[in-house]
């Protein structure tokens, strides 16, 4: 499969961005997917590419540590407790979905913001 240099660069960039976002979250910089999303938007101004990729990176950056917590300790009682604290009885899926949604939105909005700004910038083409 001939990917072409630009595509290879993009894929490498995506992988690096994902690794950066994940590392940031693991180090406690929970908003790193937003910053990475900004960078993605700068890398590829096509919103149809940058936004889903940013969202996916945000999702993964928050989902992987969450999965690690689950594997190590089990998330069930914690999820149920958080749901109870939030007023959702003991429906543990609610905080899990909320958590993943936050990660996803951080990545997606960062990417969308910069790609939209670049789209509006003077001298744009294509």
């Amino acid at each position: 499969m001939d990917l072409g240099l630009a595509a290879v660069r993009l894929y490498i960039g995506i992988v690096l961005a994902a690794a950066l976002a994940l590392a940031g979250v693991l180090l406690g910089v929970w908003w790193s997917p937003f910053v990475v999303g900004l960078a993605l938007g700068a890398l590829d101004r096509r919103a149809r590419v940058a936004v889903p990729v940013g969202a996916a990176i945000g999702l993964l950056a928050w989902a992987i540590p969450l999965a690690a917590v689950h594997i190590q300790y089990g998330l069930g009682p914690t999820a149920q407790s958080l749901a109870a604290i939030m007023g959702f009885d003991h429906r543990g899926a609610v905080p899990v979905v909320l958590t993943l949604l936050v990660g996803t939105l951080l990545g997606a909005t960062g990417a969308w913001l910069v790609s939209a700004a670049r789209f509006m910038a003077p001298g744009r083409s294509g």
Partner: protein, 811 residues
């Protein structure tokens, strides 16, 4: 358009992730999987660990039993208290933080406007000032000062560790704040919270309103100083001669006084639960070696408190060269409050004597900002506070202090409060000395320093001895009616306390039993005023039942102690139901009423969940009280909620039903001339009709569990983290205390000690951890609910028990 949309969405996402909004915490820090609330999953795990703890001088070993009971063994006293602070904070830091904030008036800093009233009141009342004064009193070489300092360091070690490992309790994350350093004064505040919960009362205000509305004759008759019913005092004398003159009368309650009392009463009634004591309920008793099957002394105790998750208690064994005690303590304090050492065991109940006195300060326009006291005009002292409020402006509060105490109301009249909880009381030092005591003389001597709250400390030792001392400060006033607000001009001031040798106490009584259940401890010949029947000694039903069981012929075992702790026999029902049945003997009854009578006739007076008779009785008693007193309340426009004096009126109704059926109280305005049997019959008919509507037509199906439930409430008032409600047995009159519907208070810790068999057993509802994701959040509840006890293991037993973890704490 595209950019605008992106900007708006990004701004919204960033806002809700960085800042609290719409009742939700900032979502980023709260829910991220690395440092957010998900860390409670890791926090819930306990493993064997080796830890370096700053401030330790020697290694310390901690063994955690399968249920989290901690055994701390240290080579120095300093290290023991430091490690205790670390262990408490490891499992209860958020609870500790809430408790110190409550006492210090700093709750609204983290929960917002909802807590402002509580904070303002606490700062007025003065727990913080008292804690500061207690701390200032302690000499540098005082053992309790050293314990407090070491304990604080242990707590702070844990705070630092938890912050560095992102393992702070999830509630800190969700509320968006970090705990501040722990100080010794914080521990004294936690102690102050308990004192307030147990003995800050507003009953003199209530009595003033009752006297004004009901009139002097009815209020004196219905709310007497001595209980109108038969009770079971444990100290029957002989007593010392009186050292003060008889209480003199004072003028009637004026309109202005009544208005002032009403305003203050309403303010106090609106405060969150726990800030004003609403009557106590705890049991303890001891049996001398001569009356026990094992030949050794027996001791049992179950303090009744608001049942919360996490529980108010933390179970531990503390062991060092200078201190050895096993039992429970309050997280936030460095000692065992209830428990045993190698030679003695002790537990306590609230003593209930009047410890709150209200004074109306005399002011006039010619002396603005001053009050008249002992013939001269005095300046109020003023203390100022800033109250930070989360999400709102910081509030300023000036607290005025008279010689009597803080001014807590200036509506109508300026009212200040004298409260024993504001006397610096070195309770921690007393408890340290109790833990170190080896015999009754040392135990009793230790209690000389105990001021507040007054408690019935019961004792049993390894030589078969038993004792009971109602230790604390018993305020004496020179004259006046201390059960009402008094003039603050000096003549009615508190002039001291009952001498220690004269306070209620007993040691090795001839019948080999001692008991307390918040009843008046002494007989009518006791020479001192200690409070009225409604301020707020228990009505005595639990004490009567405990005394009835203990005084039966034969010897008693530890199993008998445990059974008595879960005894559901309502001794009031045992008195009243036969009279009710007698009054109905010639009455025409319908089918439902006949079925109800049959149920009552065969009832053993036990408030069990499957008992329909228990339901009938409990509804009946409420109806009977209503039938007798509600017309008076209506006709006299009594401004006090009827439920506030339910307990006092019940004692009257019991006494009149049994001994004075023609009492005028049964003939309220508008109901005509009646006797007790008339009111009994009418109440019964009405109850059956109403119960049928509520519970169905068949009385046999009205099981008590349908109407009586118990709930353990989350301390942070998160209802989703409550346990229950779940049907439960008992009522307010049974040794297994379970008043309220649903019941939220009850036996917060049950302990049974048999020195002959050398068995120590206990349980509390809840678990050692405040983390709701932990197995130790509610793991003890089912055992407690079933009325069972767990063995209190020794260090050796604990360390070799299956499922135990060990922490090796190193300097």
């Amino acid at each position: 358009m595209n950019l605008a949309g992106a900007l708006i969405l990004a701004a919204a996402v960033l806002y809700v992730t960085f800042f609290p909004a719409a009742g939700l915490p900032a979502l980023g820090p709260a829910f991220n999987p690395t440092t957010g609330a998900w860390t409670m999953a890791a926090d819930a795990q306990v493993t064997n660990r080796m830890l370096h703890i700053a401030g330790l001088r020697q290694p310390v070993s901690v063994v955690l039993e399968r249920d989290g009971t901690a055994h701390i063994s240290a080579q120095t006293d300093h290290d023991l208290f430091l490690a205790t602070g670390y262990v408490h904070a490891r499992f209860r830091l958020f609870q500790m933080d809430l408790m110190r904030r409550q006492g210090a008036g700093r709750l609204s800093e983290v929960v917002g406007k909802a807590a402002v009233d509580s904070d303002r009141f606490e700062l007025q009342l003065g727990l913080l000032r008292t804690a500061q004064a207690e701390w200032a009193q302690l000499q540098t070489d005082d053992q309790s000062r050293q314990a407090l300092v070491a304990y604080a360091q242990g707590v702070n070690d844990r705070i630092a560790e938890a912050e560095s490992m992102h393992q702070l309790d999830a509630m800190f994350t969700l509320l968006g704040y970090q705990p501040q350093s722990w100080s010794p004064i914080d521990s004294l505040l936690v102690k102050g919270d308990m004192t307030q919960t147990l003995n800050f009362t507003d009953t003199p205000l209530v009595m003033a309103l009752l006297k004004k509305s009901l009139g002097a004759d009815l209020s004196s008759e219905w709310f007497p100083i001595l209980p109108p019913n038969q009770q079971s005092p444990y100290d029957i004398g002989p007593y010392a001669k009186p050292t003060i003159g008889p209480i003199e009368t004072m003028s009637e309650v004026t309109d202005a006084e009544a208005q002032s009392a009403a305003a203050l009463h309403q303010r106090l009634a609106a405060l969150p639960a726990g800030l004003v004591a609403k009557g106590g309920a705890s049991n303890n008793w001891a049996v001398g070696g001569a009356k026990s099957t094992s030949g050794g002394a027996l001791l049992a105790g179950d303090p009744h408190l608001h049942l919360t998750l996490p529980a108010i208690w933390f179970q531990l064994t503390m062991d060092s060269p200078g201190y050895h005690a096993a039992g429970v303590g309050l997280p936030g304090t460095p000692i065992v409050l209830i428990g045993h050492n190698e030679h003695i065991a002790w537990t306590l109940t609230d003593a209930q004597n009047q410890q709150t006195f209200f004074y109306q300060e005399h002011e006039d326009a010619a002396h603005p900002g001053r009050y008249l006291w002992n013939g001269s005009w005095q300046n109020y002292k003023t203390v100022s506070y800033e109250i930070p409020v989360q999400g709102a402006k910081t509030q300023h509060l000036d607290v005025k202090l008279s010689v009597h105490g803080p001014v807590i109301s200036e509506r109508g009249q300026t009212t200040s409060v004298w409260w024993t909880g504001n006397l610096p009381s070195q309770d921690l030092g007393v408890l340290l000395r109790i833990g170190q005591a080896g015999n009754f003389a040392e135990f009793r001597n230790a209690l000389r320093g105990w001021l507040a709250p007054t408690h019935n400390f019961i004792y049993a030792d390894d030589r078969g001895n038993i004792g009971l001392i109602s230790a604390g400060y018993y305020p004496l006033v020179a004259k006046g009616q201390p059960w009402l607000p008094m003039a603050g001009t000096g003549e009615f001031d508190v002039i001291g306390t009952i001498p220690f040798d004269d306070i209620p106490q007993a040691y090795n009584p001839p019948d080999n039993i001692l008991w307390s259940a918040n009843q008046r401890q002494v007989t009518s010949s006791y020479p001192y005023y200690i409070g009225t029947a409604s301020n707020f000694f228990d009505a005595g039903y639990r004490a009567n039942e405990i005394h009835r069981v203990l005084s039966q012929p034969g010897k008693l075992s530890a199993d008998d102690m445990s059974a008595l702790q879960t005894d559901t026999r309502d001794s009031l029902a045992a008195e009243i139901v036969p009279v009710l049945l007698q009054s109905l003997s010639k009455e025409r009854l319908n089918a439902k009423e006949s079925a109800a009578v049959d149920l009552l006739r065969s009832w053993d007076f036990r408030m069990e969940t499957n008992s329909a008779a228990a339901t009938i009785w409990w509804y009946f008693w409420g109806w009977y009280l209503d039938e007798t007193f509600k017309p008076w309340w209506k006709s006299r426009a009594v401004p006090v909620d009827y439920g506030v004096v339910f307990n006092a009126l019940g004692q009257d109704l019991e006494a009149w039903t049994l001994h004075d059926p023609g009492n005028r109280a049964f003939s309220a305005p508008g109901v005509g001339s009646r006797t007790a049997p008339d009111a009994l019959r009418k109440s019964f008919h009405r109850l059956i009709g109403d119960a049928a509507k509520l519970l169905g037509p068949e009385p046999r199906s009205w099981s008590y569990g349908k109407v009586h439930q118990r709930v353990l409430e989350n301390l942070a008032q998160i209802s989703g983290l409550n346990y229950g409600p779940r049907p439960d047995r008992g009522d307010a009159n049974t040794p297994l205390a379970a008043g309220g519907y649903p019941s939220t208070d009850g036996p917060s810790w049950r302990m049974v000690v048999d020195w002959g068999a050398q068995t120590f057993q206990a349980i509390y509802p809840g678990g050692q951890s405040e983390n709701p994701a932990s197995d130790w959040y509610t793991d003890r509840v089912d055992t407690w609910w079933a009325g069972k006890l767990n063995p209190m293991l020794t260090w050796d037993e604990a360390s070799s028990a299956a499922g135990a973890w060990t922490w090796d704490l190193r300097p």
